[in-house]
Amino acid sequence: MTENLLLKMRGICKSFPGVKALDNVDVSVSRGQVHALIGENGAGKSTLIKVLTGIYRKDAGDIFFDGESISPVSATQSQHMGISTIYQELNLAQYLSVAENIFIGREPKRYGLIDWKTVRGRACAILEDMGVGGVDVTRPLGELSVAVRQMVAIARALSLESKLLVMDEPTSSLSEGEVGLLFDVIRRVKARGASVIFISHKLDEVFAICDAATILRDGRLVGAYPMEEMTKLKMVSLMIGRDATSVLHGKKTAYVEPGDRQMLLSAHRLSRAHKTKQIDIDIASGEVLGVSGLLGSGRTELARILFGDDIPEQGEIFIGGREVRLKTPRDAIKLGLGFCSEDRKSEGLFPNMTVMENMTIGVLDEVSRLGVMSAKAQWTIAQTYIEKLKIKASGPHQKMKELSGGNQQKVLLARWLCKKPILMILDEPTRGIDLGAKSEIEEIIAELSGGGVAVLMISSELEELVRSCDQIVVLSEGEKVGQLVGREISEERLVDIIAHGRAALEDSI
């Protein structure tokens, strides 16, 4: 074992009932290295991390950390050894202050009481050392932005003298500026000699910050590569195991002509709680209408109003020419609307129910008589959509939580497809989903609109919008600041509107 190696995992195996999640995987991380762990959903990244941090026990294999063979049995134990994890969902206490969070469980004491002065002082020092001074360490964590919370999690890890920081999708809810800040912190961590395992779906970020990458596919090791030898295309090809050119590029070629539009839903001057301001929107049958804009631009709020989940303070909605008042999602569903939330886990999945039950939950009245469900009718629906949407599941009776993100999303789409909606509202339909499933979901969207269904698609990914949409509306701070139609859609123009849209709007007034 070379002196410079901090972590070596060798021949790691881990099986779950019916699935081999990890099969003979090796990973080596040097000191002071930022090491990317890459793979599609279900490739085994999270399982590997959970084995490393003691949340799962490995079935076979060895882990050497800092020159010693270890087999952690709990997260606390691995933390004591010097491995800290910063999760997607941060495991910090929202109501405690920044300082308390950093020192929770090992507060410096004086005469048996917590020495608050020292706690605050040391918390400030650590944060300043990371280059994020100026945070009020007495404020409750819940009042601060996600980015700051993440910094606090890192500060906590550093104060524990961690030698290895594991970051699982740390940038998924950060703005671009905040990502930059995080990268600065990572560089400082690196300069102190600590190592980082960085998991992300965003390849740009991997290229920006990582020194080396280990790629996994279907629970197996594809290989480990220094970043200098990597290109984006090569990486994608290795991840999905096929040529990636077709996945990454491409633009929609046939658009619904403005003259052919048959208006399905029109909304005028929708306003609510300063999050959406006087928004007008028109969606035609068979059309994919994109909604673009940064986080907090009012995209999701708009979707919620259209689905009856929030009630607008002002404005009216017409569906098929008739004015409708949507007080609950049920009202919208009765009119033929469907909605997939950006937050699959807390607003979409029934994790402990089966794939079949997740799919048929919205059509129970149609598969039942006098309140008694027909098992056969449900089975048929599930089987049909599993095949049609190429859902990777052992069968209709597999539990939803055992599926990978992409397959879960397909099940949620199937849930609405079997209701034959006239308008689907999709909020970030491909978030956190691997590239293979992503292009399949885009195909489903295209097929839907081809069949005459109107689709309202919200996405942060411009490429995806450009590939899928007939029209794109851009929102900023709750207002509609621009709209692109048909052939005028391009990434450059979208970026331009998002960046300057507000200014342009003000100029025009």
């Binding site: 009932p17 009765k334 129970l364 939580k401």
Partner: protein, 332 residues
């Protein structure tokens, strides 16, 4: 099962380890059944008269209310709620039945009134919980206090005797030497099992328990389903209350159904229904109810003091929770 049957001499492979883990898991998964069997066999040997029709008779008659209440509780818990007012609802309905009957009504309408009043209690629970979004434990605590008070208000301080009435005769009835409680229990369990497995209602209950927000977004009417769950539970309590009155031949409004919520909740826990909501395991609950009652019976028969039965139940619960934890880990 994972394949790989050849005898190997080398270091254990993934498959071997998975197989070993599998057999440990088997023991854990069925730990409650094993415990149950051990309890029966152990007592058959050591407790005098344990294997006798008298013991069986008693256990089965006494488990009836616990089983009914626990089945209602199973659905409530699977919806993500809890109902600690079940004992009081039993008392209220029994009190109403006794009052109506002694006031001159015949049996059927009197029971009807009891069920109706219990249903109203359930309605109150459901409406307060889902319309005013008050925590289920608070709401049902309120109804638990109020219900017990109302029951005693209706009947007064002293127990009302139903001796010599059709109630009492029915409560001790047997057909082909099978106690009437068993004859009622079998179809009721079958109905509840069918309801949970096959009805749209139960599927929606489980969906709300599994992810309330998602359930709202797929168009489930959370209000009506929640109210339905608590009303169903209350109606089962009413039947349990009526049968308890019949079995004892009297109604003591201050004591009937007292603490039954604890046994019912224990039965649900042993049965494996998740307390944060989700899948309702009716047969598990039925088994749990029998186990809880068996503990009480065994303690009584051996002249052990009451407090030991509480401690024994605590141990059973700990074992149940342990078994479930392991099961969940295996799944994740």
């Amino acid at each position: 099962m994972i394949t790989g049957s050849e005898k190997n001499t080398g270091p254990p492979t993934c498959a071997d380890l998975a197989r070993a883990a599998g057999s440990v898991r088997f023991v854990k998964n069925y730990s409650m059944v094993l415990f149950f069997l051990a309890l029966i066999v152990g007592n058959a040997i050591f407790t005098p008269n344990f294997i006798s029709t008298g013991t069986l008779d008693n256990t089965l008659r006494q488990v009836f209310p616990i089983m009914l209440v626990a089945m209602g509780m199973t659905l409530v818990i699977s919806s993500g709620g809890i109902d600690i007012s079940v004992g009081s609802i039993m008392a209220v309905s029994a009190a109403v039945i006794a009052k109506c009957y002694t006031g001159g009504m015949s049996v059927a309408p009197a029971v009807g009134c009891g069920v109706l009043v219990a249903g109203l209690c359930g309605l109150l629970n459901g409406v307060l919980i889902s319309k005013f979004t008050i925590q289920p434990i608070i709401v049902t605590l309120i109804v638990m206090f109020a219900g017990r008070g109302v029951a005693q208000m209706i009947l007064g301080e002293f127990p009302v005797s139903l001796m010599g009435t059709p109630f009492e005769t029915f409560g001790r009835e047997r057909l082909w030497s099978v106690p009437v409680q068993v004859l009622l229990m079998i179809p009721l369990v079958a109905i509840m099992f069918f309801v949970v497995k096959k009805t749209v209602f139960a599927r929606r209950v489980e969906a709300i328990g599994d992810n309330r927000r998602a359930a709202g977004l797929v168009g489930i009417n959370i209000f009506t389903v929640t109210v339905g769950v608590y009303v169903l539970c209350a109606v089962l309590c009413a039947i349990a209350g009526a049968m308890e009155a019949a079995r004892g031949g009297r109604v003591d409004a201050g004591r009937l159904g007292m603490y039954i919520e604890l046994d019912a909740i224990a039965a649900v826990a042993i049965g494996g229904t998740c307390f944060t909501g989700g899948r309702a395991r009716i047969l598990g609950t039925v088994f749990g109810a029998v186990l809880v009652q068996l503990v009480t019976v065994i303690v009584n028969m051996n002249n052990i003091q009451y407090h030991y039965s509480l401690i024994l139940k605590a141990i059973v619960l700990i074992a149940a929770v342990w078994a479930q934890r392991e099961k969940q880990e295996a799944l994740e």
